[in-house]
Amino acid sequence: MRIIRIEPNQGESYPSPQTVLRNDVPSGYAQIDESVDLTQFYASGGFVALTLTDGVVTGYTADPAAWAAWQAANTPDDQEPTTEDRMAALEAAVLEIALGG
């Protein structure tokens, strides 16, 4: 069974639908009808408007413009963080764990 959270993320995209083995639908989630093709959902980065019928997702409308705008606003830095930066962050996290943070 495929399920998806009913509310989108803060950035208006939906998190990925899950494929689960159980048959119950968690609170705040909706089952996705088997007939729904998710190709455009993924092609638009989850920027869609869901169509729900009796609590089941029966379709969606992709919003490629929102996806393009999000991509433009979230272009990764060209510069990778340095090894020193990564080591410092890792050491800080390990220390936090060691201190029970």
Binding site: I3, N9, G11, P15, S16, V20, L90, A93
Partner: protein
């Protein structure tokens, strides 16, 4: 535990009682009465005396101690203890999701489980993906988490109040690979959830 128990019972065997007449009894009048009798077994030839049905043979003190039970424990106590241990064991829940290609705190990933999560692993299936396993230190607010592949801690994860939903993201300078959310890549997750 198994080794200890094996040692404790290594010299113990259970044998059935084997007699010539297993169901034969003699009625012997009780002295001083006219209508009361004792049944006295008349087994005939006893081929094998058999193992006594005693407390020590049903649950040894050594085995009871393995369960934290005292010398007065009975097998039922041990069975209840075993059931309790089984009930407390975490169970494994699995599933998949397909990456959408987003990152950052405005587009976190999330996975909902049927029971509160203890620990979750994610395994990307994409050939270009990094085979990795995050170790989430779950709290109800986003906290940094560390994972193996990139040696970075610029990721954040949290769990919902009921413990069933895990959400995570990486900061903008990292990629969808780091967030386990590359577009079109199928991710398998395996979670240890409370019993």
């Amino acid at each position: 535990m198994r080794d200890i128990q094996k040692r404790a019972r290594s010299d113990f065997t259970v044998k059935d009682r084997v007699v010539e007449h297993p169901g034969r009894y003699q009625m012997v009048p009780v002295a001083g009465t006219t209508d009361t009798y004792d049944f006295v077994a008349v087994p005939g030839t006893v081929t094998e005396a058999g193992t006594d049905l005693s407390k020590g043979n049903l649950l040894t003190d050594a085995t009871a101690a393995l369960f934290g039970l005292g010398e007065d424990a009975v097998p039922d106590d041990a069975l209840v203890n075993i059931r309790s241990l089984i009930d407390d064991l975490p169970t494994i829940e699995t599933g998949t999701y397909t990456g959408t290609g987003t990152t950052t705190s405005t587009a976190p990933n999330s996975v909902v489980l049927s029971k509160p999560c203890k620990l979750m692993f994610i395994f990307p299936s994409g050939s270009g993906e990094v085979g990795t396993f995050p170790v989430f230190r779950y709290t109800e607010d986003y906290v940094q988490w560390a994972y193996y592949s990139a040696g970075t801690t610029q990721g954040y994860a949290k769990k919902s109040e009921d413990g069933k939903t895990i959400s995570w993201y990486v900061t903008y300078q990292f990629t969808t690979i780091d967030q386990f959310n590359s577009s079109g890549v199928v991710y398998n997750y395996m979670a240890f959830v409370e019993a």
